[in-house]
């Protein structure tokens, strides 16, 4: 069992460092999240700014943007996902090793944004892959991305290593490969992965009570 916080502090004052495997494991993971180096649209410019000296994402252990999905832990969906690009995004996600995380950055990545009613834009990447943190904004400021990053760190830190809440890489039965949509004659097929994007609740309306 975890040691109580107060006791831990007291022991720390005496020069004794107490921790658990769970804590030290997550502490290591959350402080070396390597994002995948890829940008989709204008949000990518803000993402680049976040990594530069002024905002300095390196303070959070995430300065190493990997150009290969095999070496990356975090996918920052920075921008509009067109239907032409969506299969490639899902394929890149599949190629990342577990544990992997996704930040959907900006209005387009979370819902299609201003292009929602267009024929060529995917209405949110969470139709195909699970998203850990959504950031609203068009585009979000670098501070917002840093906040999302800290939210993700808190999420990693809180993950237990056993039980039903354990991360996917410790769960052999968890879904690890997500089907890549194919580009059909009129739309992506299927239009959404129902396992990650279940149908929303019916729209409330007076005429639709049957």
């Amino acid at each position: 069992m975890a040691v109580e916080d107060k006791l831990k502090i007291e022991l720390g004052k005496q020069g004794v460092f107490v921790t658990t495997v769970n804590e030290i494991y997550n502490w290591g993971r959350k402080n070396s999240v390597w994002p995948l180096q890829f940008g989709l649209a204008c949000c990518a410019i803000e993402m680049i700014a976040t990594t530069m000296a002024r905002y300095d994402l390196a303070r959070f252990g995430a300065e190493v943007f990997r150009p290969s999905p095999r070496q990356a832990d975090l996918m920052i969906i920075s921008g509009t996902i067109t239907k032409k690009m969506a299969p490639q995004v899902v394929r890149l996600y599949n190629q990342m090793a577990e544990p992997r995380y996704v930040i959907a950055m900006g209005a387009c990545a979370i819902s299609g944004g201003p292009f929602k009613q267009g024929y060529n834009v995917l209405k949110g990447i969470d139709r195909y892959i699970p998203v850990d943190v959504h950031i609203p904004g068009c585009p979000p400021r670098p501070e917002a991305l840093i906040h999302a990053f800290m939210t993700l760190q808190a999420k990693i830190d809180a993950q237990p290593l056993t039980g039903t809440e354990r991360p996917r890489h410790l769960d052999a039965a968890a879904m690890s490969e997500f089907p890549v949509p194919t580009q059909g004659a009129h739309d992506l097929e299927p239009p959404a992965n129902r396992l990650v994007w279940p149908l929303p609740a019916p729209v409330a309306s007076g005429e639709n009570c049957g």
């Binding site: 004659a185 739309d187 729209v203 639709n208």
Partner: protein, 216 residues
């Protein structure tokens, strides 16, 4: 910069057989254009580019226009035999004017750029219909810049440019079959959730949220 009428006169003087006509734009901008028959397009385009007086060597934009089939209601006076008497009766006749597709080229001159430019010279071509006879000659060999933009027009409007060196879709994927910029394009019904649906989106959301197997 010469007016569109002057350019038309120059074309007629150089190519008397070419079928080119003036399309007037009645709006305040008065941006008139030249409509050229597809068969004469290459000769006319080459002349516009090569002639010293015009030297329209820069094709800045190629786009398309979709003119769908139009239903026209007309009232026609017809003489008819009514009770053995000839009478003039008014009849309403509905006829369908077939639609067509247009490709539009915007041309400028870099060589004669010192002359005041009022706007682009607009060149248009029309297809025969919107379904099977949608071929127009490619002007990529006259203006190299037209290559990608003709591909775009092919992709979004479905105009087939004959003689184009590499006519493939450019924005949509290769397996895509529709032409999204056409007026009768129906986009895929993939709105599933809108936080505050209204109007058209509300209707679609209601349709989608109906349980399957129940038809209204």
């Amino acid at each position: 910069m010469k007016s569109t009428e002057e350019i038309l006169a120059l074309i007629h003087a150089a190519l008397p057989a070419a079928n080119v006509e003036l399309v007037l734009n009645p709006s305040p901008c008065a941006q008139h254009s030249l409509r050229v028959a597809p068969a004469d397009a290459f000769a006319v385009a080459s002349f516009l580019r090569e002639s010293d007086e015009l030297a329209l060597d820069y094709c800045s934009n190629v786009t398309g226009v979709d003119w769908p089939d139009k239903e026209i209601t007309e009232k026609v006076k017809v003489t008819q035999l009514v009770d053995g008497e000839e009478k003039i009766v008014e009849e309403t006749i509905k006829r369908i004017e077939p639609g067509y597709l247009e490709s539009v080229y915007h041309l400028y001159s870099i060589k004669r750029a010192h002359e005041a430019i009022a706007g682009p010279v607009v060149l248009r071509m029309r297809t025969i219909n919107r379904t099977d006879q949608v071929q127009l000659p490619s002007l990529t060999f006259v203006w190299r810049a037209a290559e990608f933009q003709e591909r775009e027009v092919f992709d979004l409007f479905g105009i087939v440019f004959t003689g184009h060196p590499d006519l493939r879709r450019i924005l949509m994927w290769d397996e895509f079959e529709d032409h999204p910029m056409r007026r009768d394009y129906v986009d895929p019904d993939d709105y599933e959730y809108e936080p505050t649906p209204h109007d058209e989106v509300l209707k679609r959301a209601e349709q989608q949220s109906k349980p399957t197997g129940v038809t209204a």
